[in-house]
C-alpha cells in the first residue's frame, strides 16, 4: 500500500491568478452597482458575479476541483438550503392570489343565485351600509 498518494498541490501561479480574478470581479461588481441596469439587472449582476467568485473559491482555494468524487458530492449538498428558500417563497408569493371562483357556495346562504363575488363573501362583519346591491333582494 503506498504511503503517500500524490495529493494535488495547487501551483502558486494558479492561486495568484485566482486571487487576482477575484479582486477584478469585486471591482466589477462595485462598478456594475453604480450603473442602473434596472433593479432586476443589477440583482442578477451582483448575484451572478458573487456566484462566480464563490465557485472560484470553492474549486481552487478549497480544492474541490481536485478532490474525490465524494467530496464533490458533499459540496453539492450545500445547495439544499435553496429548497427551504424556494418553498418558503412559494408561500409568500402565492398568499395574495385570489381564491378560485366556484369553491364557495354560489349563494351566501341567502338562497340568492345572483350573489356577490366570492371575496365579498369572506367578509365576517358585513358593512352596515352596503353599497347598492347588484340585484334586488
Amino acid at each position: 500500500m503506498s504511503e503517500h498518494k500524490d495529493h494535488h498541490i495547487t501551483p502558486i501561479s494558479t492561486l495568484v491568478g485566482t486571487f487576482l480574478t477575484l479582486v477584478v470581479l469585486m471591482a466589477l461588481t462595485i462598478f456594475s452597482s453604480k450603473i442602473d441596469l434596472t433593479p432586476l439587472g443589477n440583482n442578477i449582476a451582483n448575484l451572478g458575479i458573487a456566484f462566480v467568485k464563490a465557485t472560484l473559491v470553492v474549486r481552487i482555494f478549497m480544492g474541490l476541483a481536485y478532490s474525490s468524487k465524494l467530496a464533490k458530492l458533499f459540496g453539492l449538498a450545500g445547495f439544499v438550503w435553496l429548497v427551504l428558500m424556494g418553498i418558503t417563497f412559494g408561500d409568500y408569493a402565492t398568499r395574495k392570489w385570489e381564491p378560485v371562483h366556484g369553491w364557495y357556495a354560489k349563494d351566501g346562504g341567502n338562497g340568492n343565485p345572483n350573489d356577490p363575488a366570492p371575496t365579498e363573501q369572506m367578509r365576517v362583519n358585513p358593512d352596515p351600509n352596503p353599497p347598492a346591491e347588484k340585484t334586488e333582494e
Binding site: 443589477n42 458575479i49 482555494f61 458533499f74 449538498a77 428558500m85
Partner: protein, 223 residues
C-alpha cells in the same frame, strides 16, 4: 490471540490514528468530514439569507434607504482584505503540503493579520458609526431619514445579525488559526502533516464565501 489495544498487524504508520487503516483513509475522512461541517454551516447561514431576501423583497424601498447609510468603501476594503486572507490561507496550505514550515507560518500569520484588520474595520469604522448615529435596534434607535422606521429597524436587525454572526465566525477563525500556528511552532505531532492546515483552510474559505455574498447583498443593493 491478544485481545487488547495492540493495533492490526503489518506496518503501523505513526501519522495514522488507531481507528484508521492507512494514511489515505485518514486524510480522505478528515476532508469529507470537514466538508460535512461546511455544508452544515451553509445551511446555518442560508436560512438567514432567506430571511433577508424575503424582507428585502417586501420592503425594497425602505431597505434601499437604509442601505444608503452603509459605506461602500469600507465594504470594499473589507472584501479585499478577506479575499487576500483567503489567498494567503491557500498559500499556507500549499506550503504545508510542501512541508515548508517557515513559509507556512508566515502565510498563516498574514491571514491572521487580515482577519484582525477585517474585524477592526468592521467594529471601529462601521459599527461604531452606527452606534453613534443611533441606527442600532433597541430603545436607542432613531431614524431621521425617509422610509418607515420600523422597516429600517428590520434592515438593521438583519444587518447586525448577519454581519455580527459572520464576525463571530471570523473571530473563531482567528482563534483556530492562532492555535494552529502555536501547535505548529511547538511541533505537536498532530499538526505534523498538512491536513490540519487544509481543514482550517476549508473553514476559512467558507467564511470568505459568506462575505462574498453579504457584500453585494447589503452594500450594493440596487434601488
Amino acid at each position: 490471540m491478544a485481545t487488547t489495544a495492540t493495533p492490526h498487524g503489518a506496518h503501523h504508520d505513526d501519522r495514522v490514528y488507531h481507528q484508521f487503516e492507512d494514511y489515505e483513509q485518514q486524510t480522505d475522512s478528515y476532508v469529507i468530514g470537514m466538508w460535512c461541517f461546511v455544508v452544515q454551516e451553509i445551511m446555518f447561514f442560508g436560512a438567514l439569507f432567506m430571511a433577508y431576501t424575503l424582507y428585502r423583497w417586501k420592503y425594497q424601498d425602505d431597505f434601499y434607504q437604509a442601505r444608503q447609510t452603509l459605506n461602500i468603501l469600507w465594504g470594499a476594503v473589507n472584501t479585499t482584505v478577506l479575499l487576500t486572507s483567503s489567498f494567503s490561507m491557500a498559500l499556507a496550505v500549499h506550503y504545508a503540503q510542501q512541508k515548508k514550515q517557515a513559509l507556512q507560518q508566515a502565510c498563516l500569520f498574514f491571514t491572521l493579520l487580515c482577519a484582525c484588520a477585517f474585524l477592526f474595520v468592521k467594529l471601529y469604522f462601521e459599527w461604531a458609526e452606527k452606534f453613534r448615529l443611533h441606527h442600532v435596534m433597541g430603545p436607542q434607535f432613531h431614524w431621521t431619514g425617509s422610509g418607515s422606521p420600523a422597516h429600517i429597524q428590520l434592515f438593521f436587525s438583519l444587518y447586525f445579525g448577519m454581519t455580527g454572526l459572520h464576525g463571530v465566525h471570523v473571530l473563531a477563525g482567528i482563534i483556530v488559526i492562532g492555535i494552529l500556528m502555536f501547535m505548529t511552532h511547538k511541533n505537536y505531532p498532530s499538526v505534523r502533516d498538512y491536513i490540519p492546515t487544509e481543514l482550517v483552510g476549508l473553514y476559512w474559505h467558507f467564511v470568505d464565501i459568506v462575505w462574498i455574498f453579504l457584500f453585494p447583498l447589503f452594500y450594493l443593493m440596487p434601488k
